[in-house]
């Protein structure tokens, strides 16, 4: 046993720091005991009790710092004293070190940031309703991204929001654009005169990006969640959102998107829209819109965006004309594609990440194709796929449906599932056309085209035509042009909108069917 002492005269450290240093010393290998204390009488008697009171320590005054180490041998003890000096000189952390505190509860977040006005909630569904209720209680507007919130909770939350004049967007609302800020899965958009309320997340993304690419900006984009226009929910949020846009001076044209609502809800929405002064484009995908003042019906998301842009200039009469023109162009493209195809393939396969876009494609094909299109999310339940993992006839798969997303990220974030499904379809000798949607923006995969390009190349090599659209803007993190170029480089027919892509794919298949029928004769 060797005891080494170091006296540092007139050096003051607070006692806690000294205890810390002593603790570190006594943890050093070979050190039996260590004391780092000011030389007061009380401390010296403590040293004595521990057998550490050497002669130099005995002589120390209360203004002296006493370091004593008892160790296996002299070398270890001396090294420990050196360590002690370094520890004493060390500062705990750089001055002004950053604070890394994240509040645990909504309430304390609001306390810490009293200006907070929006909550984005994407936690597990079974906890989401309680947190959304808390957020509303704190006076926050809510984007409720979470799924698996009960209908009862949705209704009570929306009633509470309505009472308080707050937005409760969701549950299952993936997208919102508030004051130009993209929340959830949303795109970087210019601000402008069109206000959107949508019960369909990718529908909101599609119409807003189509407008943006025509140079038309968005005032607000409000998502309501897919169940808002059901009879029992009653369209609470679409009505509140609509009213807010009607009163918003920035908004000149309003655009509403939904699957066909319950009739009573349709009536309420159209009544509310008709009483306003602003032109209101209504797209009930797959349904019809009764005629009413101020209402501009649109069959597809693309038509809705075109109509809204035209309404700003008072040129809504020209929409049909431009759609007809596009139709003619698509027919020519279809012919070219069919000429390049070989073999007797006739089947159409859509592999989608955006639910609304898959729905829109089916709406288009309903009036275009002679044979039914099966889906895991069909327009008509009789066309429900018997197994989502296996395509049958013409098929469109929404890979964002629950059977694919349980325990796995959404296909907008992770392309892995779609990539493998493309390869699976490429093996199928019946497949003539693959239709894909690429959704860009915040929250989405950083490079979906790049991720899919190898699988697409293999499908092309197998003799399959690939048609796609890109929902996004040039300002999105992924870049619209860059994504489009990657797709074109692997031989994809890229269309201006999802509706146009579905149209092109449908036209190709129609041509092939007719050719097949001709061969058959």
């Amino acid at each position: 046993m060797n005891v080494q002492t170091l006296i540092k005269t007139s050096e003051y450290h607070d006692s806690v720091k000294l205890m810390l240093v002593a603790r570190e010393l006594s943890r050093l290998p070979g050190v039996r005991d260590a004391a780092v204390v000011m030389g007061t009488e009380a401390n010296k008697s403590l040293l004595e009790q521990s057998g550490l009171l050497s002669q130099p320590a005995q002589a120390a005054t209360p203004n002296d710092l006493v370091l004593v180490v008892a160790a296996e041998d002299q070398e270890v003890a001396k090294a420990a004293l050196k360590t002690a000096e370094a520890l004493l000189a060390r500062r705990a952390e750089p001055a002004g070190g950053g604070l890394d505190f994240r509040p645990r509860t909504l309430r304390s977040a609001v306390k810490a940031q009293p200006e907070a006005n929006v909550a984005v909630i994407s936690i597990a569904g079974r906890f989401a309703a309680d947190e959304a209720r808390q957020a509303l209680a704190e006076g926050l507007h809510v984007l409720l991204f979470s799924d698996n919130v009960s209908l009862e909770d949705e209704i009570s939350l929306k009633r509470m929001a309505h009472e308080k004049g707050l937005l409760l967007m969701g549950p299952g609302a993936g997208t919102a654009i508030l004051n130009g800020v993209a929340l959830g899965f949303a795109n970087r958009l210019p601000r402008g005169p069109v206000g959107v309320v949508s019960a369909a997340g990718t529908g909101l993304q599609e119409v807003t990006t189509l407008l943006a690419r025509q140079g038309v900006g968005i005032s607000q984009g409000i998502g309501t969640g897919g169940r808002d226009l059901r009879e029992d929910v009653g369209g609470i949020m679409m009505l509140d959102g609509l009213q807010a846009l009607q009163e918003d001076p920035e908004t000149r044209v309003i655009l509403l998107v939904s699957k066909p609502p319950a009739p009573s809800v349709t009536a309420r929405i159209l009544e509310q829209a008709s009483t306003g002064r602003k032109p209101t484009v209504v797209c009930f995908l797959g349904g019809t819109v009764p005629a009413a003042p101020k209402i501009l019906p649109a069959r597809t998301l693309q038509e809705a965006a075109l109509t809204a842009a035209a309404a700003l200039k008072g040129e809504t009469g020209k929409v049909q004309e431009s759609l007809d023109q596009e139709q003619a162009g698509l027919q020519e493209r279809a012919n070219r594609v069919v000429e390049a195809l070989t073999g007797t393939r006739t089947r159409l396969r859509g592999l989608f990440s955006g639910g609304t876009l898959a729905y829109e494609a089916q709406v288009i094909w309903r009036s275009l194709l002679s044979e039914p299109v099966f889906s895991n999310a069909p327009l008509d339940p009789i066309h429900q796929m018997s197994d989502s993992a296996r395509s049958q006839g013409h098929t469109i798969v929404d890979l964002g449906e629950e059977e694919f997303t349980v325990g796995r990220p959404h296909p907008m974030i992770d392309q892995d599932l779609r990539l493998r499904r493309i390869l699976q379809e490429a093996q199928d000798p019946e497949v003539a056309v693959l239709l894909l949607d690429l959704v860009l923006g915040y929250g989405a995969h950083p490079d979906p085209a790049g991720e899919l390009s190898e699988a697409i190349r293999k499908a092309r090599e197998a003799g399959i035509a690939v048609v796609a659209s890109v929902t996004g803007t040039e300002e999105d993190p992924q870049g619209f042009c860059r994504q489009t170029r990657i797709l074109r480089d692997v031989g994809v027919e890229v269309c201006e909108s999802n509706a146009a892509a579905a149209q092109l794919a449908g036209l190709i298949v129609t041509r092939l069917e007719r050719a097949g029928a001709a061969r058959g004769r």
Binding site: D33, R104, I121, A135, L178
Partner: protein
Amino acid sequence: MKMAIKDLFGRPLTVVNLGLEGFAGAIRDQGVAVVDLDWKPPAAGVRPLYRTASGLDVEEANQEVLRRIKAARPVLVGMGIAKDVIPGMHEHKILHSGPPVTWERMCGPQRGAVMGALIYEGLARDGREAEILARSGRIEFAPCHHHHCVGPMAGVVSPRMPVFIVENKAFGNHAYCTQNEGLGKVLRYGAMGEEVYERLRWMETELYPILDRALASIPEGIDLKAMIAQALHMGDECHNRNRAGTSLFLRAIGPALARTSRNNEAMARVIEFIDRNDHFFLNLSMPAGKASVEPAEGVAGSSIVTVMARNGTDFGIRLASMPERWFTAPSGKVEGLYFPSFSERDANPDIGDSTITETAGYGGFAMAAAPAITQFVGGSPSMAVETTLEMYEITASEHEGFTIPVLNFRGTPLGIDVRKVRQTGILPKINTGIAHREPGVGMVGAGILRAPEACFVEAFQALAAL
């Protein structure tokens, strides 16, 4: 419909994010302020509790509790001898810290303090006699908290000991606490020996009469709420750091000491004693907390903790709604720093009533005000701030009377809400001294720990069933 939706339009967005971190990042990338919650699911089966089984409105009850605590005006009004002034105190009664405990279950340092007190009282001549007497059943033990009293560490109050009397001027109730002995070999850490008794005798025969005379000459008393508020602005949290509070106290009583002095040398010894004991003010900040919180006891349906105390064997809490009922769990182990030649092996579990400070909205909950003490746990000033921010998660309100400069003068976290403790899984953080586990040794270090969960689980269930 109020049109708050329209009001949102055109106003800068500030977002709170719960869930996918990527969403927070994307919003931040757009130049928008985001608070990204460290959200965690509540403990299994814990749902928001707004009403008790019989329909008592918890929130409403809590508002009343908070109103009372915030309205408190604790003032040091005088001193007295324990058996004369503490209601229910008598010649053969010893008070101790924490929930009730028998001699058999009493931890080492508390036993040491009891034996030391019996010797100091002249009821026993030595440790052996003291132990026999303590075991005999002729001495009645009771928690300080059952007598409007609080005691640091072992918390032993014996009949002859002088105590401070704190009056809550807003409600007229009183709280009591002994004079602080200082650090080292002291009774409250369970140390025994002539040095300990001699100091206690001096505190009784010289310190007490001089302070008592001085206080008697200050008719309005000494406003402890104001003093705590000031000390928080001077780097104390009034539990483990009382350097500023002690200085403020000395400053406040100084002129009265001089005016009432009969012996300047004795007065100088008193001043020296207080000056050399950075913890002198602890025994004033504690009864100030007790006096402030006690009027909140008995508010039906409240989920707020009004007592949190440890006896070194058990940790106990009581709720405002159930002031007679202790919810206990084994006292925890303190993570700490030790004096030379001591280690964790020597440490007694968590002990003392000093957690009254956290209960009353300062102490460890106000750590952000006291960056200098954070090295106790090998921490940093930012850790002190984080501790306070974390405690806001489990408290019902903020104390406007006690503010923290570094948090933009935000009020301290006030009123531990047992519901929030359950929902967040965050347990109150306590910093404390460490006593040696054996009787008669004393203090061996200091450190930090969390309150045990079990007593909050039980209290939450009992509240729901009310």
